[in-house]
Symmetry: C2
């Protein structure tokens, strides 16, 4: 998912030591990142060409190759930008001290559903999309995608430990394994919501997952 | 996943009323379907070209267009072939009367894991791959993919009803919603196993799902 306010990656030094050029160079980079996120969350990596991105971002080809070595380099920059954006979204829900940990998990699901609804459920998760395409992607993508999922899982495991501390989750559950199961199922739910163009799979998954959470409390 | 013995689709009449041609025409179709399943379960639809399939299947281009109108038509034939193959695999596990319903679910997971292991966890589920790519696929694919998932879910819901009948699953659970949750999570687990090139995500998901199943029994 990619809400309308998805930021582009924070400014980075341009590669290969070239002069930075016009004052709008970092704006061009931001536009490229934004157009890339929009297109790749909807269509994936393989079916989107650089020319398509240039046209939408209204950026000339030379500027693209000023900021990125090639399409693969651009793809890795998109993963990094998406990770930063999405970690912020997770923190907004998971660190909301006014809610119980379980309510924060539900808040995340609501925010995520609203984000998908804004685009008619046509845009999924960049990491899920690229993960599914991994067989056709440059090898460097694998470690980047696994790394992003692990960082989201670590945030989720921290939330689950808080849930244990306040009795919402039984001490017998393994927060790390449960957090991995959450992200396995959540990516599946995003995929299915995108396929069916409706929120029902997200809601079904959360309902089941919360039952698991509560089952743990009873055990 | 696609075990080595994945069959091609049963013979169908060739389209557009052309003469069937050489006696090996249906063999050519089988080879095309087989090569297509192998490539698309690994790389998805968008990144695989018809020429690549022709080369692997050792079939001339004219023969491809004798059997399929275009790549999209070929893609739909692959979905149909995969559905038939996979429904057989599900039935093998889910209709095994020597096992309890829960043990049959575990048997399915074991068979599926073995199938992925045979290809180093590089091949996923055709339906999951294409579902993830839906934003870049012809619109007709959506109904076909949803239809296949629903047929797998119906088989799974029947298994869960048997589980209720024998007390492995509480009467309070909704077998249809639980079956949908299973396929949401299972497709997520296949995606993750393919990304990490290892079986751990499949095992984590089944372990969690079975706990849900058993939690239902206790409730």
């Amino acid at each position: 998912m990619l809400p309308k306010d998805a930021p582009s990656q924070p400014s980075e030094k341009p590669r290969r030591g070239r002069p930075r050029g016009a004052p709008d160079a970092s704006l061009a980079r931001q536009n490229l990142i934004r157009a890339g996120l929009e297109h790749l969350t909807e269509k994936g990596y393989s079916s989107v060409g650089v020319d398509e991105i240039l046209e939408v971002a209204k950026v000339p080809k030379g500027s693209f190759y000023h900021h990125f070595r090639n399409k693969a380099d651009f793809g890795l920059a998109l993963i990094a930008a998406y990770d930063i954006y999405f970690a912020g979204l997770l923190d907004r829900a998971f660190l909301d001290g006014s809610l119980s940990p379980l309510a924060r998990l539900r808040l995340f699901a609501t925010i995520a559903e609203e984000g998908m609804a804004r685009h008619g459920f046509r845009r999924g998760c960049l990491v899920g999309n690229l993960g599914q395409e991994m067989g056709a992607l440059p090898d460097g993508f694998r470690a980047a995608l696994v790394g992003v999922l692990e960082s989201w899982q670590n945030r989720t495991a921290r939330l689950f430990r808080e849930a244990q501390a306040c009795g919402e989750l039984s001490a017998g559950q393994d927060p790390d394994a449960l957090a991995e199961a959450f992200w396995i199922g959540w990516e599946g739910a995003i995929l299915r919501a995108k396929l069916e163009l409706r929120p029902d799979p997200l809601r079904n998954f959360i309902k089941m997952f919360v039952r698991l959470f509560e089952a743990g409390t009873a055990g």
